[in-house]
């Protein structure tokens, strides 16, 4: 992205929309990556450490979805 000095006023709606789109993309990548990691027998602790969050946080966010998806879950 261009620096502040070259960012035109007209780009502001795009920039604001980019924030939401990047968050959405990050969520999509996280969902897909965590699913792939658990399917590949990574432990919740390993996934959590790789994401830089607690094991409890990653388990709370993804376990129900992955259980419903039929992914074999490791013991916490």
């Amino acid at each position: 992205m261009s620096g502040t000095e070259t960012t035109r006023e007209a780009d502001l709606p795009d920039l604001l929309a980019a924030v939401g789109a990047l968050r959405r993309l990050a969520d999509q990548i996280e969902d897909a990556a965590v699913e792939r990691a658990i399917r590949s027998n990574w432990s919740w602790s390993q996934v959590a450490e790789a994401l830089g969050v607690t094991r409890q946080a990653v388990h709370k966010k993804h376990a129900k979805r992955l259980f419903a998806a039929g992914v074999v879950l490791r013991r916490r």
């Binding site: 992205m1 780009d11 709606p13 795009d14 920039l15 604001l16 929309a17 980019a18 924030v19 939401g20 789109a21 990047l22 959405r24 993309l25 969520d27 999509q28 990548i29 969902d31 897909a32 990556a33 965590v34 699913e35 792939r36 129900k64 979805r65 992955l66 419903a68 998806a69 992914v71």
Partner: protein, 160 residues
């Protein structure tokens, strides 16, 4: 609020939740309500959307374009990511801020709740001047103000 309208809103919110799940979204947003309205095929809203060339598929395509354009503003190419989509979760995503705002706008556009009709939900969505929906409408070549006018006209005709 008439029970018919209540049932309609319930059906739209339920469907919007399914759209959000398919989208991999943690929340149901205004764009999911718009997709749900198109999917519900209620006759008056169908007529309004059809008059500007919108149906479920056209809205979906416009939203995908909007996502790609917004990412590209930050120098990110969606095509550059070769990741496969995650499996959707079992829960219906909760209503997000833009969806709540759209519903509130629609509901508050009448003096009496008993006057609420299906196009009021659409009205609440198209009245947003910034955000994902107006950006997607622009990409679909739809004049947002004109669409709002068409919704209001339909509601006016409905009262006569």
């Amino acid at each position: 609020m008439s029970s018919g309208f209540g049932r309609y809103v319930h059906a739209v919110v339920e469907r919007a939740g399914a759209e959000a799940r398919e989208d991999g979204s943690a929340t149901t947003e205004a764009q999911h309500l718009l997709l749900a309205i198109a999917a519900e095929h209620e006759s008056t809203t169908d007529r309004i959307l059809g008059s500007v060339g919108l149906d479920h598929r056209a809205i979906r395509e416009a939203l995908d374009q909007e996502f790609e354009r917004s990412l590209s503003a930050a120098g990110v190419s969606l095509a550059a990511f070769g990741f496969s989509r995650a499996t959707a979760g079992p829960d219906r995503p909760r209503l997000g801020t833009s969806a709540k705002l759209a519903l509130e706008r629609g509901f508050s556009s009448v003096a009496r709740r008993s006057d609420l009709r299906p196009p009021h939900v659409l009205l609440g969505i198209v009245r947003a001047q910034v955000g994902t929906v107006p950006r997607a409408l622009e990409l679909a070549g739809v004049d947002r103000a004109d669409l709002e006018g068409r919704v209001l006209e339909t509601l006016k005709d409905d009262r006569q």
